[in-house]
């Protein structure tokens, strides 16, 4: 296949449509996201109407049947309009984990849940982390016990995005939402005893608690306790014992989108700060004329260009994997590399760009300051940077060099 950086006409049409929407509906409201700590409901509803929550699902289940590269184009336009990343979280978590749930869910599950997710009537989140386990997922304590024709799940999930939006019906989504939740079906088998379940957060046996988030405050972040939550067997995503592996696949998706969001958010921050630097004068000149700023701009931009291309390579790899043309571990390596590189590139770029504002950089009205707080979340979300390093090293060195559990 030839190397080609061009997008198709369909993709360009989609980009211009989403850009028009984002400029009209999202951009004017972004400062409110952070102040009110929520996204206006009409925004998620309008995103649902446009079909933005159904990109990867097949047309059979009311999706658009498009590929991860096209999903990335939509994400780019969302991030360009909202560099607080609140909507990026809403979009990329649903897109990644909704897709994994769709891929491994049964036909009954697709009919019941995926169709609603594709229409944007229901949001799909991810819940693996717990108060006592994040990077070391074997340490989770949530359990799912087989009971008749379903499972009963108990435990606690922590630092989870979208708990409020999934909890409330008739709000951001008509039916609220649910989280793809990792639990032990057989604790003795460690990671081979884990399974994934779709857990509606509207269940009365769930209680949620919200954290005070450091940034990207428009999309909630918190924990939920499952107290004997019953889900039907059809809500199990993939076979028993495959949960850990399917979760790893979902992380690959999410990491590719995060890399793209960081690259685009970083570039947007540079653009905004550069505009300011053309206006702001010091020592008799616009500060943009100073090489101290220009060299920072160029170094950061070059890194962000690389991050941008690598992020699209990761999305392309996911598409190739869907077509059976590239192996699982190769995708994992590219996606982890993309996240590892793009998060650092974005953090450095936004940090530098913010300084071009002078003291105005240190205010909460400054969107670039909000972006800095937002990208910080990707030191952890969907796999910490050190876990990315371990993955890349493992894939390059070989599995026999994985450090032993002590």
């Amino acid at each position: 296949m030839p190397l080609d950086f061009e997008f198709t006409k369909e993709q360009e049409d989609i980009r211009s449509t989403v850009r028009e929407f984002a400029e009209k509906y999202i951009a004017p409201k972004v400062v409110e996201f952070e102040e009110k700590q929520e996204i206006p409901i009409e925004i998620t509803r309008e995103m649902a109407r446009l079909g933005l929550f159904g990109i990867l699902f097949s047309e059979k289940y009311d999706g658009l049947g498009l590929d991860p590269v096209t999903a990335g184009i939509v994400l780019e336009e969302i991030v360009r309009a909202d560099i607080t990343f609140s909507l990026a979280v809403a979009y990329l978590v649903h897109t990644s984990w909704g897709y994994v749930a769709y891929k491994y869910g049964s036909d009954d599950f697709r009919e019941d849940v995926i169709r609603k997710a594709a229409r944007g009537d229901l949001w799909v989140g991810i819940a693996t982390t717990e108060p006592g386990a994040g990077s070391d997922l074997v340490g989770i304590t949530t359990t799912a016990k087989k009971n008749g024709d379903g499972y009963v799940i108990s435990g606690e999930k922590a630092y989870i995005s979208g708990v409020r939006e999934a909890r409330e019906k008739d709000a951001w989504f008509e039916l609220g939402g649910g989280h793809v939740t990792l639990a032990y079906t057989d604790k003795t088998k460690q990671h081979k005893g884990m399974s994934l379940f779709f857990v509606p957060l509207t269940d009365p046996n769930i209680t949620i608690r919200l954290e005070k988030e450091f940034g990207r405050k428009g999309w909630s972040f918190g924990s939920f306790v499952l107290n004997n939550v019953r889900v039907p067997e059809t809500y199990r995503i993939g076979d028993e014992g495959r949960g850990f592996y399917i979760a790893m696949e979902g992380f690959d998706h999410a990491r590719a989108y995060i890399a793209l969001a960081c690259a685009v958010g970083g570039k947007r921050a540079i653009e905004l700060a550069a505009e300011y630097a053309k206006q702001r004068r010091a020592f008799g000149e616009p500060v943009a004329t100073f090489q101290g700023i220009q060299f920072q701009l160029a170094d950061n931009w070059a890194r962000l260009e690389a991050a941008h291309a690598l992020a699209y390579k990761a999305l392309w790899a996911l598409k190739m994997e869907q077509e059976g043309r590239i192996g699982r571990f190769e995708v994992t390596k590219i996606a982890a590399s993309a996240k590892l590189f793009a998060v650092q590139a974005a953090k450095a770029a936004i940090d530098d760009a913010l300084r071009w504002y002078g003291a105005y950089g240190y205010t909460e009205e400054n969107p670039v300051a909000l972006a800095l707080k937002a990208v910080k979340s990707y030191d952890w979300a969907e796999g910490s940077l050190d876990i990315m390093r371990l993955i890349v090293a493992r894939e390059v060195l070989g599995k026999e060099y994985i450090a032993r559990r002590r």
């Binding site: 006409k9 369909e10 049409d13 211009s16 449509t17 028009e20 929407f21 079909g51």
Partner: protein
Amino acid sequence: MSAIPVNIVVLVKPVVDPKAVVRFRPDGTIDRSAVKLVVNPYDKYAVEASIQLKEKLGGKVVGVAMAPPHAVDALREVLAMGVDEVVLLSDPRLAGSDTLATSYALSLAVKKIEQELGIVDLVLCGIESSDSNTGHIGPEVGEWLGIPSVSYVDKILEIHDGYAVVKRLIEGGYSVMKVKLPAVLSVAGTSYQPRIPSLREVLAARRKHIDVWNADAVGLDPSLVGLVGSPTRVVRMWRIEIRRRGKIFTDSDVDVAIEKLISELKKDGVSLGV
């Protein structure tokens, strides 16, 4: 009263994307080779009006554009919005047409569509184009077709008994007019905010066929189009630098400053309505 369907032709002009960075050739004309074409933003209000009328009354909406062949991509957008079909009138002989020649060609396209549909009740267009801003096309098409035209239409209030009642913007207010159909309406104002189509509609529009008609297809007289048919001559193009002369009144007493400001404005002939 039962709704009687209306057939509408909506005129759309592909223009250089107003948000794009435009480069000028040495002779002062726009370099159109590398720029993206989009539907004239003003025409999208007319498209929205057409679709709303169709949704309310039924009937068919046909879009007509006159442009070079590569403009076809820009027309997908109005198909996605809900226009039933789009025709692109494209012929090298049309190159260089001014508004008189363009309106002649468009009027023949409207006639051809009328033959196919049996009747065209309304011809809608934007109030002007974002690239040349003449505002001529609507009224001129009306003249060529021998039917009435109304410009600055803010809202189409009702359609019945062979008439349309429209709210028309005038300086300082509006007037309500009754116009006999068929008629040409140039739609202005913000009553018809163009809808953003869903991605499903966008993808479906990409798969639709767009008819391309040449000059012969509409039976036009070649002497009335192109440079030969255009009485308008572009003699020279140049860039105008608009300089703003800010004046700051520094009086510590605000009332004094305001008085000075008002007298300055009056001196410049600005009507303050007092």
